[in-house]
Point group: C2
DNA sequence: TTCTTTGCAAACAGTTTGCATCGTC
DNA sequence: GACGATGCAAACTGTTTGCAAAGAA
């Protein structure tokens, strides 16, 4: 009834025909547990905490492979670093807290709709899009 | 009546207290004439065509200085490279044509308004934002 | 056994920086 | 003359790659 076990990144990777090595097992686990959108360095740090000796090049290669297979999504925010998140089934956009660097997801059907309208008015169809709101927490 | 002469990047730079060197004169000229959002390499190429011998480090430094003074705006699109545009007086967003790489500006007050709403609902105030629509021309 | 993945080090691309010199104000 | 800007080369950061060894399937 709840999210079934075989929809883990690990299982989806296996189904994509990727070989499951010890390193990948850990990387996938970390990736799945991440609530934020980690960059390669962060991932490598967390992976190393669990299993030392995993080379950062392996993390880079794994991220590229996973992205090619559509298992994760690549983001480039204003800070320049490339960040990742497990491929979302639903589309969403991002708040980026400028004070903490925290990344929060949100959805707005209204905005999605408006985007379609505007694109059409300009003679375009949307292939994909990216909306990032750089924000600050309102103190009360 | 029309846009007055002293609103050029050059004049605005002068007013910001920047020294106008030969190199900067050319860089500002190229920047002003650019309809697209050039990256440093592009700028350097165009600048070199007009006046050879300008070092690319100078272009980098000038871009940073101009950005600090709010005279140009820095963008990071999905391709990773940092790109620039003369600081727009009006805020606008971008279409990126996925086939040609062309960048087109647009505005939508409605979307701006919706963004404010959503941020407020989440307890945030917007510091800045970025909306990029990756699009394809509709053939007819 | 085959074909993929890994570690390591070297190579890259984009960008920044230290320093002596030069040029604008 | 003072101080900001430039050229050049070296340094740095993030990312990729060649190759031989290790390991999944």
């Amino acid at each position: 009834m709840t999210g079934s076990q075989d929809d883990t990144l690990l299982e989806r990777s296996r189904r994509s025909g990727l070989r499951i090595t010890g390193q990948r097992r850990v990387i996938l686990e970390v990736l799945e547990g991440a609530t934020d959108h980690p960059d390669v360095e962060e991932l490598h740090r967390k992976v190393s905490a669990i299993e030392p000796g995993v080379n950062i090049a392996t993390v880079y290669r794994t991220m590229n492979t996973l992205a090619e297979h559509g298992l994760i999504e690549r983001h480039t925010f204003e800070d320049g670093r490339t960040r990742f998140e497990p491929a979302p089934t639903d589309h969403h956009d991002h708040f980026i807290d400028v004070d903490t660097g925290e990344v929060i997801e949100f959805v707005s059907d209204e905005i999605e709709r408006l985007q379609e309208d505007i694109a059409r008015k300009h003679g375009f169809e949307i292939v994909s899009h990216k909306l990032e709101l750089y924000v600050r927490r309102i103190k009360d």
